[in-house]
Symmetry: C2
Subunit: 206 residues, 2 copies
């Protein structure tokens, strides 16, 4: 959802966008483009990445399958490929569990107190670990992005952002973000960079 | 130093040992063996590792060259190759900076208050980050090993170990370990496993 929505938003603004996909035909059908590089992420090379101004890691793993670790492994592979570079700038979508609640606690800690969390904690925990991994990296030009808690398909309207890792609530005290606003905020950040080696979060504006 | 000493200790005890090396001839000369797989670590495959009972990552990067991140990237690559396995067991040598002082503070924090630390902090900081990365991994059979602060070439004598991450001091309040004792302790742990997904440290016994 995130990758394809960003692809379409950036293309609509006139950027030249290339998708990395494991299956070319599926990507062609989804994105309506021939700008596809067919590759498994772990086979991507430094040379392939260096031709771009911006790279976006929009991996999302299905919950409950125990493969959340791919978030970490994929980030580590991409970071390794880009060590000691400033271009491309690389964006990682890291989930909402690493956001901080108004009481100062990271949401992952709250999640771990919920009954039955063992069945679904793998993906959010892996994304928290991914962010921790990325935050230690000083020689790659990275940005991390957290959506709001309720992140759903939807149109671009207006968004608000927070660069301190604090969760964004709307007037109804809901943490909500549409994919259209996610894509708009990321492409805005690409066009007018405001953050370097930091994380921001996005929420639908009231 | 660590890799070759472990190689010799394990071979002397009758184990069949294979070295991964970027340069076969250098490894042949150093280790006096033909059991060499010539490979850059980032080209090592899952299939190559799965033939072994134990894998040891004994990377050491030279200080002050800004390539300490290779500790993290190499660990991440090896972890990725071994996801969802229990064999081989993999050992990571992670340095002493992540050990805890008697006052409860991790030594890396003390290091960061030393004048001029910017020139040499890269390697110990990277090894601290490496350990943090490894400690999040739940689906690989890993062990992390910290030497003492003064880790030097020397014979096997007697050693002591601590499994709680506390630095080991001798009677003269020195934190000292010979390479011979490091190798002995690691091969002992291989032969009689006492720890799983944990870290231990080793010091010369008085």
């Amino acid at each position: 959802m995130t990758g394809s929505t960003i692809f379409k938003e950036a293309t609509a603004r006139g950027h030249e966008v290339t998708a990395f996909a494991r299956n070319r035909q599926k990507a062609v059908d989804l994105l309506n483009t021939q700008n596809i590089i067919e590759a498994d992420v772990f086979d991507i090379t430094r040379e392939q990445l260096l031709q771009f101004d911006v790279v976006i890691d929009a991996l999302n793993t299905p919950r409950g399958q125990g493969i959340g670790y791919l978030h970490i492994d994929m980030a580590a592979h991409l970071i390794h490929l880009l060590r000691e570079t400033d271009t491309p700038r690389i964006f990682f979508i890291v989930g909402a569990a690493s956001l901080y609640a108004p009481d100062g606690e990271q949401f992952i800690e709250k999640f771990k107190r919920e009954q039955g969390h063992e069945e679904w904690i793998d993906t959010p925990q892996s994304q928290v670990d991914e962010l921790q991994f990325i935050q230690n990296v000083q020689n790659v030009n990275w940005v991390a992005v957290s959506p709001s808690m309720n992140y759903h398909p939807g149109e671009k309207t207006n968004y608000t952002r927070n660069d301190e890792g604090q969760i964004i609530f709307n007037q109804d005290h809901q943490s909500v973000l549409s994919s259209g606003n996610m894509a708009a905020a990321i492409v805005d950040e690409i066009e007018q960079p405001k953050i370097k080696r930091g994380r921001f979060t996005i929420g639908d504006a009231d």
